[in-house]
């Protein structure tokens, strides 16, 4: 007989209780895995935008917490081009619109100049890209086209104005896939922001992190009132990313506490019920540390089962969410391995936390006292 056989038999002895504990734990782990997966996917998707386009720096108005509220004069582009170390740049205006008939809110709309470097990483699947002289023309992301059931040649209503779909594209970023691109001038006119931009994307001459940071500092020194942030730092500082990550961690913390209390309760009951048995094991010569290992082993097995079931539930939940029209533009149907890793580590840690006190209590029982419980 293996030691693990003993652990398994003890858990299966109260099958329903064990199953309920595992389910309780699994729900917590599922929440952790899914929320972290979504938050990290969110961040990765943002990063993918800049990586695919080779953007090194983002220039926005200094002091704004949300990129969408930033506004800079279009004319700043010429001054930025003069800064030593700037190789290329592109201005963009970004906003959000809704398509209520499709139950889509906060769809990202980008105003880009035709031929802009921002089109890098954009793969046109159908139709064509934006061209000089295009008026109310729109390029739809693949997911948005799917949600709106639009194809090339159809017309769509954007913030009360009729646009013609000239192309459908795919991007490495979910955000872009769930949004649309229109000519910069059209978006500026529609939003009453002629001459305004949200910010500039900059490609540097020297692309290592130190040089990019130095370029950022140079831009900020030469052009007061702007913030020039390396693309990766910019994404990490983004208010939505930070909010999503904070929510994910806060929920994880709650799940941690609830899960640990569940394991604690189960293991306490289990140890209490088996006090006499523990006395027998001690009488037979079992050392305290073997009793400790038995009880902690049972708690760990609960944690392991909770982690497996929780990961499966979290994965299924994210898959379902990714299929819903409102979320599919933002939620990838997959979970990064790191999120699964956090779920597993959390399950192990909280099962050990929940099992530790009962295990210590069991292991420190005086054999004669424990035997009296039979």
């Amino acid at each position: 007989m293996r030691f693990t056989t003993l652990i398994a038999r003890n858990l299966l002895r109260r099958g329903v209780r064990t199953a309920l504990t595992v389910v309780g734990l699994a729900i917590g782990i599922a929440a952790v895995v899914a929320l972290l997966g979504i938050a990290w996917g969110f961040e990765r998707s943002f990063l993918a935008i800049n990586e695919a386009k080779g953007i090194d720096l983002i220039v926005v108005r200094a002091g704004v917490s949300d990129k969408l509220t930033s506004n800079l004069d279009e004319a700043l582009g010429d001054r930025l081009r003069q800064v030593k170390g700037v190789r290329n740049l592109a201005g963009s205006l970004m906003d959000v619109v809704s398509f209520e008939e499709a139950n889509l809110v906060s769809v990202l709309i980008n105003g880009w100049e035709p031929g802009s470097l921002l089109f890098r990483g954009i793969k046109v699947l159908e139709g064509r890209t934006l061209a000089e002289g295009d008026g109310r023309s729109a390029l739809l992301g693949r997911v948005l086209a799917l949600n709106l059931r639009k194809k090339v040649g159809d017309s769509i209503d954007v913030a009360g104005e009729r646009f013609r779909v000239v192309g459908i594209f795919e991007s490495a970023s979910l955000f872009e896939n769930g949004g649309l691109i229109v000519p910069l001038k059209e978006l500026q006119r529609m939003m009453g922001r002629e001459g305004d931009l949200t910010g500039f994307a900059i490609v540097a001459e020297a692309r290592d992190h130190a040089s990019v940071e130095a370029l950022g500092r140079r831009i900020e020194a030469e052009i007061p009132g702007v913030a020039a942030v390396p693309a990766r730092d910019y994404v990490e500082r983004d208010i939505r990313i930070r909010l999503a990550k904070s929510m994910a961690w806060a929920t994880s913390l709650v799940a941690l506490v609830v899960g640990a209390v569940g394991v604690l309760n189960t293991m306490m009951m289990s140890v209490f019920e088996r006090t006499g048995e523990i006395g027998v094991l001690r009488a037979l010569g079992w050392r305290r540390r073997r009793v400790l290992a038995l009880i902690l082993g049972e708690a760990l097995a609960l944690g392991g089962a909770g982690a497996v079931l929780g990961s499966a539930l979290g994965f299924a939940g994210v898959r379902m969410l990714a299929r819903s029209p409102t979320a599919s533009g933002f939620v990838a149907g997959k979970i990064p391995p790191a999120a699964l890793g956090v779920g597993l580590v959390m399950a192990v840690v909280l099962s050990l936390l929940g099992g530790l006190y009962p295990a210590l209590r069991g292991a420190t029982l005086a054999p004669t006292e424990a035997l009296r419980h039979e």
Partner: protein, 223 residues
């Protein structure tokens, strides 16, 4: 240890429980030679089980000392002592309910020197010795009370102990099963040169021992 010395010796054992109200033993001294069988008898609550627990290193005396092969138990690793030198048999068998007879016999072997493969083979041999090889895969609830006690005896022998301590080993058995268990204990003792100390209420069981020690109110009154 000298060859002539007793296997087990107790000197002036007292046991007062922490609240101070119960003086379970009041200066008990005894010696048990290797290979001897000793029955401890007396009315309920006289301190028989307490004495057995002190002799087996399950509990420590308030004063006095127990010596095993001349070495005071206070100087020993009591877990290892219980695991390797002592076999316990209880009135209520105390088998683990979810384990088969074969698995129950292996439980003490986790603290023994046996690799896993050998544990199984040893458990099979021990069950064969108690004539239960054919019931090896049954869990305790599928065994008769007599069979359960035989499994418990096989378990007590798992690590080749020198001393078997039995607390009312026939207390829960009918007369047929009692006779079987007594016969088994006698045979095992002879074949394995075991020393046996058992606590009993039963005159028949006591009569089968080499020597009887009577206890009353925590003191030896005879033997």
């Amino acid at each position: 240890m000298s060859d002539a010395g007793p296997l087990l010796k107790a000197e002036g054992l007292t046991r007062i429980y922490p609240d101070g109200a119960v003086r379970a033993l009041r200066g008990v001294s005894l010696a048990v030679a290797a290979g001897e069988s000793v029955a401890v008898t007396g009315p309920s609550g006289c301190g028989k089980s307490t004495l057995l627990h002190l002799l087996g290193g399950l509990d420590r005396p308030t004063s006095g000392e127990v010596y095993f092969e001349g070495v005071p138990l206070g100087a020993l690793d009591l877990d290892a002592f219980r695991a390797r030198r002592i076999g316990f048999v209880f009135q209520s068998f105390h088998l683990l309910p979810t384990l088969s007879a074969l698995e129950n016999v292996q439980v003490p072997m986790f603290e023994g020197p046996w690799p896993r493969g050998e544990r199984v083979a040893r458990a099979v041999r021990l069950l064969d010795e108690v004539a239960l090889a054919h019931r090896r895969d049954h869990i305790p609830s599928r065994l008769s009370v007599g069979e359960r006690q035989r499994v418990a005896i096989a378990r007590a022998l798992a690590n080749e102990p020198a001393l078997l301590l039995a607390d009312e080993p026939t207390g829960n058995l009918d007369s047929v099963a009692q006779a079987e268990v007594l016969e088994l204990l006698g045979r095992l003792r002879r074949e394995r040169s075991l020393t046996l100390v058992l606590v009993t209420h039963s005159p028949e069981v006591a009569a089968a021992a080499d020597r009887v020690i009577k206890i009353r109110d925590g003191r030896i009154v005879d033997g």
